[in-house]
Symmetry: D2
Subunit: 362 residues, 4 copies
C-alpha cells in the first residue's frame, strides 16, 4: 500500500494546518480533494496546497476511489452528518474536536463507523504534542509517583471564526471549544480512568456584546483512583495564545508551557510578520514561536492515523474517547447551570452542550 488518499472536508483554520502537515510531514498520505462551502475560497485553498480536486459538496469527494480517509475539519454542527456520510462511503474518518453536538450524535457516529468497518479517530492533537508526550512518559516511568492532579489550560482572546460566537452553531462557548482539549489531555495522562463527577464555573466576562456563550470557564473533574483534573479555558485572555499543563504526583511534579516556555524572547521596535497564534501585535516584547504545527503535534497525529489505517491498528484516540469528552462537557454545562457537582455517567437530552446553562441564565 503506497500513499493513502485523503479528502479534506473544510478549508478553514484547522484545515489549513492539516493540509500543510500532510504535505510537509506525512509522506504516506496525499490530499486528493478539498471541500468547502465557498467556491472561490476552496479553489484558492486547493491551488495553494497543490490539491488536485476541490468541491463544494463533500459527497463528491467521498465518492472518489482514491480517497481512503475523510478528514473532517468542518464546523462542529456538521461533524456527525459528515462522519456518517464518510462511513457510508466506506472511508476511514478522522474527526476534529469536539466530536459532535450531543451524545446521541456521538453514538450514531461510533455505531456507523463500526458497522462500516472503518476507523474513527478523534483528533485530539494534545496527545501527540511532543512536550506533552514527554510529560506522559514521565508519568508512565513513575517519575512523579502516584499522580493525583492534572491541570491543562488554553487561553486566548476569542475563536478563529465568527460562527463560534453563535452558540446555536458552535454548541457552546469556550468550555466546549477548548475544554475538550483539557478533558482528553487529563484522561490520557491518567490512563483514561472513569470520570466520577464534574464541577464547573463559567461566565461571559469580556465578550458579552458578541456572544451568549461562556468566555471564561473552569472545570474540576474527579476520577476513579483518587485523582483530579482541572481545565481552565478562556476566550477573554489578551496577549495571544497560552497553552500549559501541570502534573502533580506524590513524588514529583512537572510543568509544561508550550508557548511562552518554548518561545524566543524578542523585542522589536519595528514589528515583524508573526509571533504566535492570536498575538495582537509584534512590536515591543513578544514571545516568538516557531514550527507551531509540529510543536502542537498535528503532523504526528495525522501520521499516526495514516499508519493505523495502513497497518490495521486502533488509533490512540477513538470515537469513544471523543464521546467521553463530550459527556464531561455536557455535565460541566449542567453543573455551571445548577451550581452542583454532577455525577458521571451523565445522561441528557440536551441538543447542544450549552443548553442547560443558557436556560438557567434566562
Amino acid at each position: 500500500m503506497g500513499q493513502l488518499g485523503v479528502a479534506l472536508l473544510g478549508c478553514g483554520f484547522v484545515a489549513e494546518i492539516h493540509a500543510d502537515c500532510y504535505r510537509r510531514f506525512v509522506p504516506d498520505a496525499r490530499v486528493e480533494a478539498v471541500v468547502g462551502r465557498n467556491e472561490a475560497k476552496t479553489r484558492a485553498f486547493a491551488e495553494r496546497f497543490g490539491i488536485p480536486r476541490w468541491f463544494t459538496d463533500y459527497h463528491r469527494a467521498l465518492a472518489l476511489d482514491e480517497v481512503r480517509i475523510a478528514d473532517v475539519c468542518l464546523p462542529n454542527f456538521l461533524h456527525a452528518e459528515a462522519t456518517l456520510a464518510a462511513a457510508a462511503a466506506g472511508k476511514h474518518v478522522i474527526c476534529e474536536k469536539p466530536l459532535c453536538m450531543n451524545l446521541q450524535e456521538a453514538d450514531r457516529m461510533i455505531a456507523a463507523c463500526k458497522q462500516a468497518q472503518v476507523r474513527l479517530m478523534y483528533a485530539e492533537e494534545l496527545c501527540f504534542t511532543p512536550k506533552y508526550v514527554r510529560a506522559k512518559t514521565l508519568v508512565d516511568e513513575g517519575a512523579l509517583g502516584k499522580v493525583y492532579l492534572v491541570k491543562q489550560s488554553e487561553k486566548h482572546f476569542g475563536p478563529h471564526a465568527e460562527w463560534f460566537w453563535d452558540v446555536t452553531r458552535s454548541g457552546g462557548g469556550v468550555m466546549l471549544d477548548m475544554g475538550c482539549h483539557a478533558f482528553e489531555f487529563i484522561r490520557w495522562m491518567l490512563g483514561k480512568p472513569k470520570a466520577l463527577s464534574v464541577w464547573c464555573q463559567m461566565g461571559t466576562y469580556v465578550h458579552g456584546d458578541k456572544t451568549q456563550g461562556d468566555d471564561n470557564s473552569i472545570a474540576i473533574v474527579e476520577f476513579e483512583g483518587n485523582a483530579v483534573g482541572m481545565a481552565e479555558e478562556s476566550w477573554a485572555k489578551p496577549g495571544g495564545m497560552d497553552d500549559r499543563a501541570e502534573i502533580y504526583g506524590s513524588q514529583g511534579v512537572t510543568y509544561a508551557d508550550l508557548l511562552h516556555g518554548n518561545a524566543l524572547e524578542t523585542f522589536s521596535q519595528v514589528g515583524y510578520g508573526y509571533a504566535v497564534e492570536k498575538a495582537p501585535d509584534t512590536k515591543g516584547w513578544t514571545f516568538t514561536i516557531y514550527e507551531e504545527a509540529w510543536n502542537y503535534g498535528f503532523p504526528q497525529e495525522l501520521a499516526h492515523f495514516v499508519d493505523c489505517v495502513k497497518n490495521g491498528r486502533e488509533p490512540l484516540e477513538t470515537g469513544e474517547d471523543g464521546r467521553a469528552v463530550l459527556e464531561i462537557i455536557m455535565a460541566a454545562y449542567e453543573s455551571a447551570a445548577i451550581g452542583r457537582r454532577i455525577s458521571l455517567p451523565f445522561k441528557t437530552d440536551a441538543k447542544i452542550p450549552i443548553e442547560p446553562w443558557l436556560k438557567a441564565r434566562r
Copy 2:
C-alpha cells in the same frame, strides 16, 4: 512617640520571621517579650533575638507597660483567646492568619478590640509582598482593563508543625491553612467586593496516613461586579514551596511567580545550606531564593501596623477582613462536603471550618 514595644506571643516558625523582621527592618518597634509553652525553647528564642524578657504565660507579657502591641503567632485555636486577653489589657493586636476557628470567635475578637479602642490587624502578608503590591498598582492604574479573574496559589509538601495534621487543633487542612492567603489576596486585588458564592473541591491525596484534613484543595469564588477568584492550595506538592498569582483583565494580564520566578537557578553537585522553604534537597538543580521575608512582605506588613498604631491609622487589613476570609473558608468546606455552590453571606454553627467535610466523608 519613640519605639513601640511588642510582645511576641508564640515562638514557632512565623514568630521567628516576625522577630527577625522587627530587628532588621522595623526601627520603630522593639520586641520587649516573647511567650512560649516550652521554657527552654522560649528562653533560647529570646536569647537568639536579643529579646529582654520571656514568659510561658502570655498574660505576664500583656501586663507589661512597655508593651503596646501584641503580635499573635500562636496556633490557630488560641488566636481568639489571646486577642481577647490583649484587648482587655489595652494592647493593639496583630493576629496571624487564619483569624480564628469560627465566625463566633471572629465576631468576639472584633467587638472586643472595638470596645477596648485598640487596633486589630489581620496579618495577611501577601498584601505587602512587593511583587504582588506591584501587581495591585498595575490593576489600579488600569493596565489590565476590567479585571475578571484573579488566581493565587500556594503549594508545598506539608505544614511546619505537627499540630497542623490534627484538624481538631488546626481547624482544617490546606484550604484553611493556605486558602486564607489566596482569598484575601483575591479580595484585596479586586477592591474587596462582596463575595457571592463559593465552589470547592478537595481531598486527601498523599498524606492520608497522617491527617484527616484536605491536602489538595481548589476553590472558586464569585464576586460582585462579575469577577471570579480561584484559590489552589496543596500540602501534597513535592519539590519545595510554590507561590504564584495570575490576574486577568479585559485588556491585559499579569503573571507573578514569587519563588521560581525570582530565584537564582543553581546547580550544585555538592549541595549547600538552604534553597527555599521546604525544599527537600540542595543537590542538583535548585531554585535558590534570597531575602525571603522581605520578598514575602513580612517587614513591610509589620512596619505598616507599627505606623498605624503610632499615627492612629486604620490598618490595610482588619479583623473584618480576616472574618470575611474565614467565612469564605467555612463556605468552601461546606461546598466540598455537599457538592454544591454555596451562597454568601454564609451562616454556620460549625465550630471549626472542616467540620461539615469531615462529617460528609464518614
Copy 3:
C-alpha cells in the same frame, strides 16, 4: 550617636535613588542638604524629598556641622575634586562609580581621605544587590566548587544624561559607565584576587551619530588562581535594562537575572506608568519590575556605609577597590586600542580611560 547627617552632592538620576533610599530605608541617616548646579531643579529636589537645605556650591554643604557624610553623585569628572574637598572638610565620603577619571586622581582621593582620617567608600551597589549577595554566599558555601568563570552584564539603550555621550566629560563610553559594575562584581565574587590581564573588544555600533564613545564592549579579565571574568556592556540594546550574572564552578553553576528574572510578566493593551529602567514602552508585553532600588541594593549599600561610619568599620568597598576597577577599565581601553592582551598592573598617563582607543581610531 543618633542619625548621621548626609550632604547629597548632585541631584540627577542616582541622587534621586539615594535620596529616596535614605528616607525609606536608612533610619540612621538624614539628608541635611542637597547640592546642584541648577537652582530651580535643586530647590525642587529638596522640596520633593523634604531636605532642609539646598545649595549650588557644594562647599557650603560641606561646611555644615550637621553633615558627617558627603555622598558624591556628581558627573564623573567632578568625583575627585569633590572628594578632596569633602576630606578637607573632615567629612566621610561615599563616591558613586566610577571612582574618577584616571589613576592619578584615584591615588589623590585615597591619600586625602587617609590623611583626613575619614572613610572613603566606593559605591558599587552590585555587592549589595540581594540576589547577587545570595550568589556570593553560594560561592562562599562551596556550592559551586572551585569557581573559574564569573560573567556579569548590563545592557540598555543609552545613558541617563546627555553629558555621558561627550567622552571628554564622561571619560569613556559604556565600558567605563557600566563595565565598572561588572569588574567589581567579578573581583568581589572571586574574593578580590589580583587581576593578571585584560582583553577587550569594543565599537560604536548604533549611536555613532551621538558619541565617539564605545556603545558595545566585551572584556575578558584573567585573575590569579586560574579564574576568568567576563564583562558585557551595552548602550545599544533596545527593550529596556538587562542586568545578569552567571557563575561557573567545577561542581556547580548559578544564573541570576535581576530584571526579566524577577519581573512580573505583563500584557497591557492600554499601557501603564512604568515597567523598568529605560523601557521604551509599556504597551504589549512588558517585564514589570518593582522596588527597583531595593532589588539593586542601594539602600543596603547606604545603610552599610552609615553603619561603618557610626561603628568605625571599614566599608566592604573601598577607594582601593574603585582604583582597581579603574585600572582594569584603563587597561581594557588600551587593549581594544592595540588589539593585545594587556598585563596588569597597568601604568598609564592617560587622562581619561578612553584616550588610547580614541587615538587608535583616528
Copy 4:
C-alpha cells in the same frame, strides 16, 4: 528517483542520531550500510536500526551501487581521508563538524568533491535548528534592525568519547569541538560576511587531569559591516547541556534558549530515565527535554541534503563554509597563544588547530 541510499561512516554518538533521524524523519533516504571499527558494536548498531549491511572497512560501503551519499560521522582526524575516498567513489558527502584537522585538508576535500562533481555538505545542524531558524527569519524580516552582535554558546561537562581528550586525535579542545557551532551560527545569522579578526581567551580549568586541551574558551570575531560575534564554549559546566543564542540589533533583540527554555520543569524524588544530554542525574529538579534531535535540527539538515542531491541544488552549508569556520578556529587558537587579535584571512601551517596554543604553554 526514489529513496537515496546512504552509507553511514561511523557508529558513535552522532551516527546514532543520524541513523534514527533518517529512519523517522527522512523518507527519501535509506541507510544501506554502516561502518565501524569494532565488529560487535557495528553489527549491533546495524541490527538496532535495521540497516541491511555493516562493514569495518568504509571502502566496502563506498563500493556499493545502492549508496549515493556518504555520511561522515567519524572522529575528526578521519574526515579528510573518508571524504576523499567517497568523492573518488563518486558519492555525495555530508561531513560532520569540524570539517577536518587543518586548512590544507579542507582545500583537498573541497577540490576533490568539485572534481568528482559530487556535493559536499558541511553538517552544521544549528542552521537547521527550528528555534534558531525562526531567529534567522526575524533577522531577515528586519525585526531587529541592523544586527551588530550575535552570541552563541554551548556548554556541558565534557565530550561523548574518550578520544576528544587526546588533542592529537581531536585536534583541539572545546573551542574546536563546540566553537565550530558558534562560528557558523554567527556567520549564517549575519549573512556570511567576511570575518576580519579574532580574539580568543581559553584555559584548562577543570579537566587538567584528563587533557591538555582547552576546557573553557571565549572568542570574539569582528566581521565586515560593523558586526561582532561571540562564542562561549565549555567542557567544564556542570549540570547538563546548555545551548543558547542572543542576537542584538539597532531596533531589537531576541534571546533563544534551546534547552532550559524549551524543557519541562520537573521535580522527581525517585528519578527517571533521561532528562537531557549529559545531565548527571534525574532526581530533584531537572529540565526535561524532548525530541532532542528534531529540536536541534538533525532531521531537517539530513532531509535538506537528500533533497539537494535529488534535485541538484547547492546545500545551505558547503565545504567552503566548513573551511571558513576552521580558519576562524585556527586563528582563535593562535590568538589565545600570543595574546593578540589575529587578522583574517589567516594562513598557517599548523597541522592541528590547538598546535600554537600548546606550544605557547610549554
